[in-house]
């Protein structure tokens, strides 16, 4: 397994602002993932982040809205830009070890 931490654990933001979520892991991994979990819903993959290359976004998610950085093998950030109340969700980062994905504790975002 792996130890994954996320900052912040929760935040309340005003619409139109941006929030950057950090994900730190305790081991070097090539691929990291960002998921969104809307209230009462399941998890949906936003993008896959490889170190040293541009993130790959899933259908319905765009880089302008969810820019991702992956500066090294243990760290990634997800920014939620120009937020609206519809962006209120839990955002989770994950990584894969031996074909099993492990998740961070999540960031609960509320947009007013």
């Amino acid at each position: 397994s792996a130890v994954i931490s996320q900052k912040p654990s929760r935040d309340i933001c005003q619409r139109g602002t941006s929030l950057t979520i950090q994900c730190q892991v305790d081991s070097q991994v090539t691929m990291m993932f960002w998921y969104r979990q809307q209230p009462g819903q399941s998890l949906t993959l936003i993008a896959t982040a490889n170190q040293g290359s541009e993130a790959t976004y899933e259908s319905g998610f765009v880089i302008d809205k969810f820019p991702i950085s992956r500066p090294n093998l243990t760290f990634s950030t997800l920014t939620v830009s120009n937020m609206s109340p519809e962006d209120s969700s839990i955002y989770l980062c994950s990584l894969e070890v031996y074909n099993e994905q492990f998740f961070g504790p999540g960031t609960r975002l509320t947009v007013l």
């Binding site: 993932f33 399941s42 998890l43 993959l45 074909n99 099993e100 998740f103 999540g106």
Partner: protein
């Protein structure tokens, strides 16, 4: 495209009982992994059990076991001797072996274990 369906939004059982959560999926691929994840109120996603599609033997992890029926594309989770700490959302997920490593999740089943 892959889809995962969990048809039981909520379930409730008494402590020490056995409960089975249902999951069906659809994929045109032959090689994939199936997972059950648990998300307690703390919201931390915890991997419960994993099944490789090429293995006929059903996976088991202590009180947790699966009934994997590949032809029927069914993957149910059985929890034996349920405990209060098993109260959580349970998600079924599929990942192809080839190609993208993304997990496709079902809608989840909210399981409550009553004392």
């Amino acid at each position: 495209a892959q889809t995962v369906t969990q048809s039981q939004p909520e379930m409730s059982v008494q402590e020490a009982e056995t409960v089975t959560l249902s999951c069906t999926y659809d994929t045109s691929e032959n090689n994939y992994y199936l997972f059950w994840y648990k998300q307690p109120p703390s919201r931390q996603m915890i991997l419960v059990i994993r099944q490789e599609a090429y293995k006929q033997q059903n996976a088991t992890e202590n009180r947790f076991s699966v009934n994997f029926q590949k032809a029927a594309k069914s993957f149910s989770l059985k929890i034996s001797d349920s405990q209060l700490g098993d109260t959580a959302m349970y998600f079924c997920a599929l990942r192809l072996i080839q190609g993208a490593q993304k997990l496709v999740f079902g809608q989840g089943t909210r399981l409550t274990i009553n004392p």
